[in-house]
């Protein structure tokens, strides 16, 4: 995304869809627009959202990183175990930083493997997905930890914003939402206003040209994976905070929602396209869809169906927009290896 002028295209469509959906649900269920519901929706978007932003960053440089759930659990479980072993009374910031560092390290490994192995990133990260998770569950442990560090418990009670609902009750916006929004804002600014951010897009758009410009393509790609890992780990950590429980077997099953959010939000599998705002909107769309199906009278069993249809439609939109459905002319990034050099 370079400029607001591009906004009307994909992100705009998502925004419109989102609004329509919100109105549809809101008419049936008046509660939809209450502070409680909105805050709750935002809270539910946080974990998926953080995963999705990380996933998106890798998509921008032209890669695919499916290992984020594994990084999430390793970061989460690892932090808690470390804290309980060495410093149970650690302040939240320290725990947060430790989680981020674990994620950064794992993401770094991902990046190095993808750039060195010259293999499709989908397959490499499928490998690390298993590697990280298997390592955690076999060598570290599988037990639930209920006695998480107090800092986490305290943090979970914190709200950044308290509003009074219609019925007089106090409703709070959880602080994790603030973290999520802050991260979204930071990523937005970095992508748009720093040369590093523009380099990510450049590498995704034309890695060969980027190299000629003197951009260190491998370093930029590795950095993207590193950032994705950091965000994934933070997401995992925050999910443990919310549940007050560290379960190393959790977080599986959300992969599809994350990928769907990014794709629906406008990121292209071929790389170089999309915006973090779009991803944010995509996440909201997914979350609202999931949460509101019941309200709309659709049984929960249909959730996956709905997401599947949404995903297929979202992918189909840019194809439709180009008018002619000649597969041979329109196929974008058909397989696993990106055309144009670079196997990120």
């Amino acid at each position: 995304m370079s400029l607001p002028r591009n906004f009307p295209r994909h992100e705009g469509i998502v925004l419109v869809t989102l609004t329509l959906l919100a109105i549809a649900v809101g008419t049936i269920n008046r509660e939809f627009f209450s502070f409680f519901n909105i805050f709750s929706l935002l809270k539910n978007s946080t974990i998926i959202g953080l995963f999705a932003v990380g996933f998106f960053l890798v998509l921008v440089v032209g890669g695919l990183d499916v290992s984020f759930t594994s990084i999430g659990v390793v970061g989460m479980y690892g932090t808690v175990k470390l804290a309980l072993a060495f410093y149970p009374g650690a302040p939240f910031v320290i725990l947060f930083v430790v989680a981020a560092l674990i994620g950064a390290a794992l993401g770094l490994i991902n990046g190095l493997l993808v750039t060195r192995l010259q293999a499709p990133s989908l397959i490499v990260t499928l490998g690390t997905l298993s590697l990280y998770r298997g390592f955690l569950l076999y060598f570290i442990g599988t037990k639930w930890i209920r006695e998480v560090p107090t800092a986490m418990v305290e943090f979970n009670r914190t709200n950044v914003l308290v509003m009074t609902a219609a019925n007089g009750a106090q409703v709070g916006l959880h602080i994790s939402v603030a973290i999520f929004l802050a991260i979204v804002a930071i990523v937005f600014l970095v992508l748009r206003y720093t040369t590093l951010g523009r380099s990510l897009y450049a590498v995704g758009g034309n890695p060969v040209a980027a190299r000629r410009m003197g951009i260190n393509v491998e370093a930029v790609q590795t950095l993207a994976y590193c950032m994705a890992g950091t965000l994934a780990s933070i997401a995992g950590f925050l999910s443990a905070v919310r549940l007050r429980l560290a379960d190393p077997q959790s977080l599986t099953g959300s992969e599809l929602d994350v990928i769907a959010a990014a794709v629906i939000g406008g990121a292209a599998i071929t790389g170089g396209k999309g915006s973090v705002i779009g991803v944010f909107l995509g996440v909201l769309l997914i979350v609202i869809t999931n949460d509101s199906l019941i309200v709309l009278g659709i049984p929960a069993a249909w959730q996956k169906v709905a997401i599947g249809v949404l995903l297929l439609v979202a992918i189909g939109m840019p194809l439709l927009a180009r008018g002619r459905f000649t597969a041979s002319q329109l196929r974008t990034g058909g397989g696993l290896v990106r055309v144009g050099g670079g196997s990120a």
């Binding site: 370079s2 400029l3 002028r5 758009g205 034309n206 170089g272």
Partner: protein
């Protein structure tokens, strides 16, 4: 020495290009022969380069002065690309030195050469399609400066400034992928200028431009030369070289065969230096095509929205029909339409008087058409597969048993047969086709289609990228096909080549047929005139 300008369009609204400054007379500030400093901007001395026993360059020396437009001419395989890569610093010469402003820069890195003002604009422009035009112009510079924060507004201002220097306006907000080719090229030029390029090396810059766009490009080049920029214009198009360049350096087989001011040369001399042979005006002798009443191929009202319109022509069995025109005239689109790639929107096609419908390639192949594409490497061949595999692709019906299993021995025999018939130089049909030279690779593509026994063979620029010595061989094959009563259509930019092999020539312009000539009655000059008559 002042160059004559073609009348530059003073008011040109086409394609949204507005000129910021009028260019009715662009005088050069620098006069050739009085260099600004003692040393020429660039001086190459005795550059040589070998790859695995093949000599790409042998002792090439030349100079480029300030505000000079130098043509670097040569056929494919002459060493032009190698020379450029060495100047850009992407490759190291085995011998020889490179001087910039009199200092030895032989060992310096590409980045340092960019800093010294040497920039290459590659054929593919190396732009970022997903970023805006503006960003493509200012981002590399800011990256180069080591900036962390992207100063967007300053960047945009700089981009606008550079574009005004070039004399053109482009919408800076649009993603580059959406721009037409000539604007992409201007973005590439502007990006080079932002880096304070003093010498721009343009690699085959006019390949994808229409005639009008080429003229615009030349106006830009002249304007920039007027401000002291130098150019190395790499090309093998004689007309363009003659039009724009001050001086010509010709390479052939890695050596320099000519180095003289343009004013002292004729096109024939340049061509001779490039090919080593006189262009023999002549014609391959063979039996004239059938003049039966029913044409082999009759096309009427052939149209495709936005590409070509109301194309009508016939082709007789054994006739060689040439399609000539400027870039963008629609020839490739028409012949691809015949082949179903994609099909036309309107029109009728008749083979032997019977109408047929062509909606896709299968239909075309079934009707007896064959198509040898322009880009033989990615569209015509399966590089990692064997020569034999490549040849038999379209002959499979003959090579399977009754129950449909592929017969290995039959396959080998078929391949051997074609290798022999077309004189493909290879010790074995099992070798990968990537091991062959360009000329032999083209023979493989021809073999593939000949093995399908086509009635009509369409060739799109069949001898491009083939060294001069091999071209007659390809022509020979075409002639043999015609002798066997196959109808041949050849799309080419090379008028002399068409003069050699065709019976008739059709000239296209802007998607329509504008002329048809029998070659026994026309001269090369006449055809060329018809072709270039298109623009004011």
């Amino acid at each position: 020495m002042k160059k004559e300008n073609p009348a530059s369009p003073t008011v040109s609204q086409d394609r949204g290009m507005r000129q910021v400054s009028s260019t009715t007379s662009s005088t050069r500030l620098f006069v050739e022969g009085t260099p600004a400093s003692d040393h020429p901007l660039l001086r190459a001395v005795n550059l040589s380069k070998h790859y695995d026993g093949v000599t790409a360059l042998a002792g090439v020396s030349f100079e480029v002065g300030t505000a000079e437009i130098l043509a670097l001419a040569g056929e494919n395989g002459s060493g032009k690309s190698t020379l450029i890569r060495i100047i850009a610093g992407v490759e190291r010469a085995n011998e020889g030195t490179l001087f910039i402003d009199g200092a030895d820069w032989t060992g310096r890195s590409p980045i340092e050469r960019i800093e010294a003002g040497i920039q290459v604009i590659y054929q593919d422009f190396a732009l970022f399609p997903n970023l805006s035009a503006g960003e493509n112009i200012w981002l590399p510079q800011q990256l180069h400066q080591g900036r962390r924060l992207a100063a967007r507004s300053a960047g945009v201002a700089m981009a606008q400034r550079v574009l005004s220097e070039v004399g053109v306006m482009i919408e800076l907000d649009r993603p580059v992928a959406e721009l037409p080719v000539w604007q992409k090229q201007l973005v590439a030029i502007a990006r080079a200028l932002v880096h304070d390029a003093r010498l721009l090396i343009m690699d085959e810059p006019t390949t994808a431009l229409t005639h009008r766009e080429v003229q615009h490009l030349f106006a830009v080049i002249r304007r920039l030369a007027g401000r002291g920029k130098s150019f190395i214009f790499v090309s093998h198009q004689l007309q363009e070289i003659a039009q724009i360049c001050d001086r010509v350096v010709v390479l052939r087989n890695g050596s320099k065969t000519l180095d003289a001011p343009m004013k002292d040369l004729t096109k024939v001399q340049i061509a001779h230096a490039m090919t080593g042979r006189e262009i023999a005006p002549g014609h391959y002798r063979r039996t004239p095509p059938n003049s039966s009443s029913v044409s082999l191929l009759a096309v009427r009202g052939f149209s495709r929205y936005g590409e070509y319109h109301d194309v009508n022509f016939t082709l007789a069995a054994g006739e060689v029909l040439g399609f000539v025109g400027l870039m963008g005239a629609g020839r490739t689109a028409v012949v691809k339409g015949l082949f179903g790639l994609p099909p036309a929107d309107l029109g009728t096609i008749e083979i032997d008087g019977r109408p047929i419908v062509i909606r896709n390639v299968s239909d075309a192949v079934r009707a007896g058409l064959a198509y040898v594409p322009e880009d033989r490497l990615s569209e015509g061949l399966f590089l990692n597969f064997s020569i034999g595999d490549n040849i038999v692709v379209r002959a499979m019906e003959r090579l399977v048993t009754k129950t449909g299993w592929i017969s290995g021995p039959r396959k080998v025999k078929e391949a051997a047969c074609w290798i022999d018939r077309l004189s493909i130089k290879t010790p074995s049909s099992r070798l990968p086709v990537s091991s062959l030279s360009g000329g032999n690779q083209q023979r493989v593509v021809l073999a593939k289609w000949m093995a399908a026994n086509p009635r009509v063979l369409i060739l799109n620029r069949p001898t491009v990228g083939i060294d001069v010595g091999s071209k007659p061989g390809i022509h020979q094959i075409i002639m043999e096909l015609a002798a066997k009563k196959v109808g041949v259509i050849v799309v080419s930019d090379d008028v002399p080549e068409l003069m050699l092999i065709c019976d008739r020539v059709i000239v296209m312009r802007a998607g329509a047929i504008v002329a048809e000539r029998n070659l026994s009655e026309s001269s090369e000059k006449e055809i060329t005139q018809v072709v270039t008559e298109s623009d004011p």
